[in-house]
């Protein structure tokens, strides 16, 4: 197990999450893809910190996790609001601002 393995794993999970963000129609599905991408970024940061032998990476990952929690709370509140207002859960149906 070296830094390369961890970075490869992280990039793979990041791409999978990106695929989810781009291809999902459900708003919460998109949010789940974003969570996977966040998770992959945290994994890369922790891996690099482990490889360098410094603690700073773990602290940045801690902050990342807390910020993600805030983002998810606001995102899900937005999802519930949009779902109530437009009566749909699909991101491609929410096109009120399309010109």
């Amino acid at each position: 197990m070296s830094l390369y393995h961890i970075l490869f794993l992280s990039f793979l999970v990041f791409s999978i999450g990106l695929f989810g963000v781009l291809s999902r129609r459900h708003v919460v599905g998109i949010l789940i893809g974003i969570e996977l991408m966040f998770n992959a970024a945290n994994l890369a940061i922790v891996g690099i910190a482990w490889s360098m032998g410094v603690l700073t990476g773990q602290i940045i990952a801690l902050f990342g996790i807390a910020i993600t929690a805030a983002e998810v709370a606001v995102g899900l509140a937005l999802f519930l609001l949009v779902e109530r207002l437009t009566n749909t859960v699909y991101a491609d149906k929410i096109d009120t601002m399309r010109g």
């Binding site: 393995h5 791409s15 695929f19 291809s23 490889s51 807390a66 207002l85």
Partner: protein, 176 residues
């Protein structure tokens, strides 16, 4: 070191397969559960990397709190029983192309960078990842970001409350 490798590859396989399941599952609730399992696998990878505190926080806050929030939001939203939800993907081929492109770009620039080579050789700290050291650094050097973060969390709570309440007050106004 040998066992480390085997455990890491098992965890990596689990993480990648549950991630694929999370983005490709037809049922959105099932995909949330797969996300929870993927986050748990990541927590175990953190344990393997010597970050025990981070693994615990990952399980508590991420796999516990965030997944609970997502599942609650899904259960509150009324469209869950709708059978139309089965069709959940669109534009699979462009999305696949874009994400593979991003993967190759990331891999290419990482593997061709000489800096990564120097990063992967400089491991030295022996008592790495001890929670005590981490807390001491967190509450001395990183106190200001920590406090700003608590303000951010407060703002997120208030914002979520305001967003979720808005429709209700509008409904009351309409009733009046």
């Amino acid at each position: 070191m040998h066992w480390d490798n085997i455990i890491f590859f098992l965890l990596a396989t689990g993480l990648v397969s549950t991630s694929v399941a999370a983005v490709s599952s037809k049922r959105i609730l099932r995909s949330a559960i797969f996300l929870a399992i993927a986050l748990l696998f990541t927590a175990f990878v953190y344990l393997l990397l010597g970050a025990e505190l981070l693994a615990g926080i990952q399980i508590l806050l991420y796999a516990g709190g965030v997944i609970t929030l997502i599942i609650f939001a899904l259960l509150i939203s009324e469209k869950l029983g709708d059978q139309k939800l089965v069709e959940t993907h669109h534009g699979v081929i462009p999305a696949l192309t874009a994400s593979l492109l991003v993967l190759f770009i990331l891999l290419y620039f990482t593997w061709s960078s000489p800096r990564i080579e120097s990063l992967s050789n400089s491991r030295s700290l022996s008592e790495y990842g001890v929670s005590r050291t981490l807390s001491e650094v967190l509450f001395s050097t990183w106190v200001l970001p920590l406090e700003i973060l608590s303000v951010l969390l407060l703002a997120a709570i208030i914002g979520a409350l305001v967003l979720a309440r808005q429709e209700k007050t509008k409904g009351e106004e309409r009733e009046q």
